[in-house]
Amino acid sequence: MDLTVRGVVRRFGAVTALAGVDLTVAEGELLTILGPSGSGKTTLLKVVAGFEIPDEGTVHLGTADVTMAPPRSRDVGMVFQNYALFPHLTVAQNVAFPLEMRRLPKPERTQRVAEALALVELTDYGHRLPRQLSGGQQQRVALARAIVFKPRLLLLDEPFGALDRKLRESMQLEVRRLQRRLRLTTLFITHDQEEALILSDRIAVMSAALIEQVGTPAEVYARPATRFVADFVGESNLLDGIATEGHGAEVSGLGRVQAGASTGAPGARATLLLRPEALRVGAEAAALPNRASARILETVFLGLSVKLRLQVEGGPEMLARLPLRPSAPLPVTEGEVVPLGFATEDVHVIRHG
């Protein structure tokens, strides 16, 4: 079922946690709320789950207004940060809990629990206690418990934070598969932009109690609407300059930079975004319309690529990321002065507002 949040405001004394948030999650969609801590994303989650009532605005599940409804009547499945599994109940009892609360007859309960455990591949673990499971298994129990009663909406509150990197990646994919298969409308909260890019149908980036941008991962990454989004999602070179005629801008050290779109009225301030992987270094740079030369301050080996910290002569410090082949040596050395360049269409203009 689709979720609609309209004009939601929540204040705690002098602090405004949500300053008028609008959001729609379509049926079967996985939408991620991405933001740093303190951006209001947890409050938004609580408002949707029913643990907080907004001061203004409404929350609809489908056509039903649930703004004031208590959590238990919302039919929302939630996976908590630390899973909040009940340690004194077995895995099966944990998963059966929401069914019990809904007074389902015992045979149906047993069957639904078995189905849910099968979905998360824990069929044989029903009689165990949560503490006898690994972190990843606990997470799957929490997931099974959140979906066993066929909720109208699934909420995931930073569920992968406690897992190590490898497990985290496999769990992310598993959650994604399950969500697609069951066509669960899902709201996912995280501060991890990488996770958001991997998992989401759409991402809503939050900052300072407001949603800055909503879009597909590709949109948010390639065409961030604000400076905050550009900075928070992925690595970025943000160039401040003055707009000139013909999709250009004057940036100190780089001269006139040619962008792929209008930079605004001539003479106005313009902010240009250049992702590190769009930068070319060395011979490749010569053919590109935007060129400069820079000293390499630092090289960081990342396996598949190398990250360079560059000082443009008389200009800003910039990041570049060059692909590597396992057999090839590093193409550059620290301290070297190299030509660099980038294509017009790789320069994204961030509007001021």
């Binding site: 789950a49 643990f51 959590p71 908590f80 630390n82 009940f86 340690p87 418990r145």
Partner: protein, 271 residues
Amino acid sequence: MAHARRQPRNLGRILLTIFAGLVFAFLMLPLLVVFPISVSSASYLQFPPPGFSWQWYQRYLEDPVWIEATIRSFKVAILCTVLSMGLGVPLSFALVRSRLRGMRIADRLVAAPIIVPNIIISIAIYSLFAKLQLIGVWYGIAVAHTILALPFVVILVSAGLRTFDEAQEQAAMGLGASWPVAVWRITLPQLRPSLISAAFLAFVTSFDELVIAMFLSGASMTLPKKMFDNIMLEIDPTIAAVSVLQIFLACICLGVATLFGRGVVPGTAGR
């Protein structure tokens, strides 16, 4: 060099162990000494006992005054336990979770009976109960004992509650439970160790209490009052037999609280 440094440290540890052992002996000595006396064949206090006899246990069991006092003490202690748990557990939830400033004052208020001298509490309640004609009524004593037992219940249950992750209650509510159901099904079962310890400590507090009982019991004595009178008037080994039985009761309570409970004393949780 390292060897030379290690030597005094081991010596220090041995001295510490000996000292602790002596203190433990001091603590246990009075409990152990009543055992031989309770089975003495002598009718006055004699040590070592000249012979073996169960007569003092028999005398205790056959004396209706002793038995009545014992039953009365059980009744008082059980009611006190029920009252202090029934009031103390909800109060602990409020004290741990409420952010109201008044609760900090309430917190102090509840702990106050630990430091306010018993004699003052006793005569204060005595003067009130005398007016209300509640002297010599067993449940009056139980209510007064509740004031003394409440701080122990609150301290133990609050300590348990502080380590409980409240997100579990939220999770239960998100899964369809109302708050009371979430507390009943999720929170209280996990507090069981603290609850058991608290209940037994409340029981023992009331069962052993003398000063309040001395003022409030009137003619209908509790067990400690009867023991006190016996010690003052005729010190015969019956009281040693009663003492042995009481030590066994304490052993049972402590044993149950240790096996199934937690944090019998604040700070021991988790060990």
